[in-house]
């Protein structure tokens, strides 16, 4: 038996317990520290946004990268979501003889839930990872330090334009995803599945109200803000070398996705309560 394994076997239960507790403590402390760090980073971003606002040159570039370049992929995603919904829902509705109401199901789930969540997920992958990788590379190659050394605040220069672009453009992109989803679902249902178009639109009009469209947009504003802050933060905290940049890009997507799901649940509960208690609305039935 080697010295090391002998030592391991001599560890008392009390020592093992202390080790486990200390490991757990360290893990909790690290997560709390991460959350605190992200909160400070977010507050600093909001501070700079209010105090100075981003420069036009950086804002234009961010709007182009986040908005214009994401448009095709978001529209494609929306179109396919609409068509897949039609494919999946049609047989179920046909069984109960209500295939004419398929439009209501497709459009309501699109504008309220799937459009905002899937568009945000798509953008967390396309925009978020790219932000984290870009800022991470800047951290590794000391470009962020160079900004500071020249008396330029990196949060103001790099984060505020990206944050503002995500906050404004992700709801806009979600609207495009919704629109394309509606068109894709309609095309598939009417032209390929043979649903009568007048019923399709009439039931859709009944089921989808202005508040549903607003709810989708409202959620996507939070998704946009969360994606920008998480991904910029991951880029700023990037570890050394290519491995560090890779990890930052991956973790930015994973954390953004978790944040999107968590915010979705939280905002859904809030919006339902708001709709019922404040606006006195009644949830419309699809069937």
């Amino acid at each position: 038996m080697t010295k090391k394994s002998k030592k391991r076997s001599e560890t008392t239960p009390r020592e093992s317990f202390i080790k486990i507790v200390s490991k757990m403590g360290r893990a909790i402390a690290s997560r709390v520290s991460f959350a605190g760090n992200l909160a400070v980073f977010s507050l600093s971003t909001l501070f700079w946004l209010v105090v100075k606002g981003p420069r036009r040159e950086t804002l234009t570039r961010s709007f182009f990268n986040i908005g214009v370049l994401s448009l095709p992929v978001v529209m494609l995603t929306g179109t396919f979501i609409g068509m897949v919904l039609a494919v999946q829902a049609f047989p179920q509705f046909k069984v109960i003889g209500m295939e004419t109401r398929i439009g209501a199901a497709i459009n309501l789930s699109l504008v309220k839930e799937l459009g905002p969540v899937l568009a945000a997920t798509m953008l967390a992958g396309r925009v978020g990872s790219s932000i984290a990788a870009e800022l991470g590379t800047m951290r590794v190659t000391e470009q962020i330090d160079a900004l500071s050394s020249m008396g330029v605040n990196p949060v103001h220069y790099l984060v505020t334009p990206r944050f503002l672009a995500c906050l404004i453009l992700i709801p806009g992109l979600t609207l495009f995803a919704d629109l394309m989803g509606v068109i894709g679902g309609m095309f598939f249902s009417i032209h390929l599945l043979g649903v009568d178009w007048s019923y399709y639109w009439e039931y859709s009009r009944h089921a989808v109200g202005m508040f549903d469209i607003f709810a989708g947009m409202f959620k996507s504003v939070f998704f946009g803000g969360a994606i920008a802050l998480i991904c910029c933060h991951q880029g700023f905290r990037c570890g050394a070398g290519a491995e560090g940049v890779g990890k930052a890009a991956t973790s930015s997507f994973v954390l953004s996705f978790v944040a999107i799901l968590f915010l979705d649940l939280l905002l859904d509960v809030f919006l339902e309560q708001f709709h019922t208690l404040v606006l006195g609305g009644v949830n419309k039935s699809v069937v």
Binding site: T141, E142, Q143, D145, A146, S149, M150, G151, V152, N153
Partner: protein, 302 residues
């Protein structure tokens, strides 16, 4: 009495504390006050700890106007951290860093930004912005801090700076950092650091990865910055030839602390010949680049 007149009488270390504040009337009939000017940069009992790792231990150091100080030491001994602490990029765990008498850790964001505009920092890998052209890189600090400057004035200044570092503005201006060589990138980084007319330049291994001729070009740029632009400099390097050629003083970090805390910055203060005769065994071993006992110890540990 204008502040400028008073400034004429400020001196670095020459004024003994006993006569500081003395008032006398100059030949022009104007009352003048003799004041002792603080060193350009002063580090006091600096400690930097990352997690459980003490990177710098009890560093005390002064950088005076017009001098270039080289900091040498083993890889990982904290030279770059020391350099970044001097500009406030790394916060001291304990201890203080003064720039022209102001404690950097006590400055507001706005004042720290203002203080940093008096620094120039040449990074190891130049740290040029990939998304910008060379012209945009060099003009970046001017565009950020001198909004009153016209586009034409900025362009002229950029051309002057590029010529100053031996680059042809017409050839390199429109290129991006990825389209030029490593040596050219270093020189562009140098031009960018000089753009704001700094009072102190911090050089982080500026000759690393360059061929001997290009290294000497960079050495000449550092000497030029000191002699022509009267800029103080702190040079972190492993290149002893560069250190000897450029620096007035040499400091060694060993391990994580200055080698001699009683007389911290006086390991070398003279001609190039003296450095090779340095009596401290650890310094001379490092300067000569001899493996010595360290390697034998490590092989025995294996």
């Amino acid at each position: 009495m204008t502040e400028q007149k008073r400034d004429e009488l400020r001196t670095d270390e020459a004024v003994p504390p006993s006569i500081e504040g003395s008032v006398f009337v100059g030949p022009d009939g104007v009352k003048k006050v003799l004041r002792r000017r603080p060193p350009l940069l002063e580090i006091e009992s600096l400690n930097v700890i990352f997690g459980e790792n003490q990177v710098l231990r009890d560093i005390t150091l002064k950088i005076r106007r017009g001098e270039t100080v080289a900091i040498i030491g083993e890889s990982g001994c904290g030279k770059t951290v020391l350099l970044k602490t001097m500009i406030g990029l790394v916060a001291p765990t304990t201890g203080r860093v003064f720039f022209k008498g102001q404690d950097l850790s006590e400055l507001s964001d706005k004042k720290l930004t203002e203080a940093r505009s008096h620094y120039g920092f040449v990074f190891q890998m130049a740290a040029l912005f990939d998304s910008m052209t060379i012209e945009e890189n060099v003009s970046f600090p001017l565009r950020q801090h001198h909004k009153e400057m016209s586009k034409r004035a900025i362009k002229e200044r950029v051309e002057y700076l590029l010529e100053e570092v031996g680059l042809n503005p017409r050839v390199v201006s429109a290129k991006t950092p990825s389209e030029i060589s490593g040596g050219m990138r270093k020189r562009v980084g140098f031009a960018r650091a000089l753009a704001m007319d700094p009072e102190i330049m911090l050089y982080d291994e500026p000759t690393t990865g360059l061929d001997p001729i290009m290294s000497d070009v960079v050495n000449e740029l550092m000497i030029n910055a000191r002699d022509r632009h009267h800029v103080a400099g702190v040079l972190v390097t492993h290149d002893m030839k560069s250190a000897v050629k450029v620096a007035n003083r040499l400091i060694m970090l060993y391990p994580h602390a200055l080698l001699d805390s009683d007389e911290p910055q006086m390991i070398f203060d003279g001609t190039a010949d003296e450095i090779w005769r340095c009596s401290d065994k650890r310094v001379s071993q490092f300067i000569r680049g001899e493996a010595g006992e360290r390697i034998r110890d490590m092989s025995m540990e294996d």
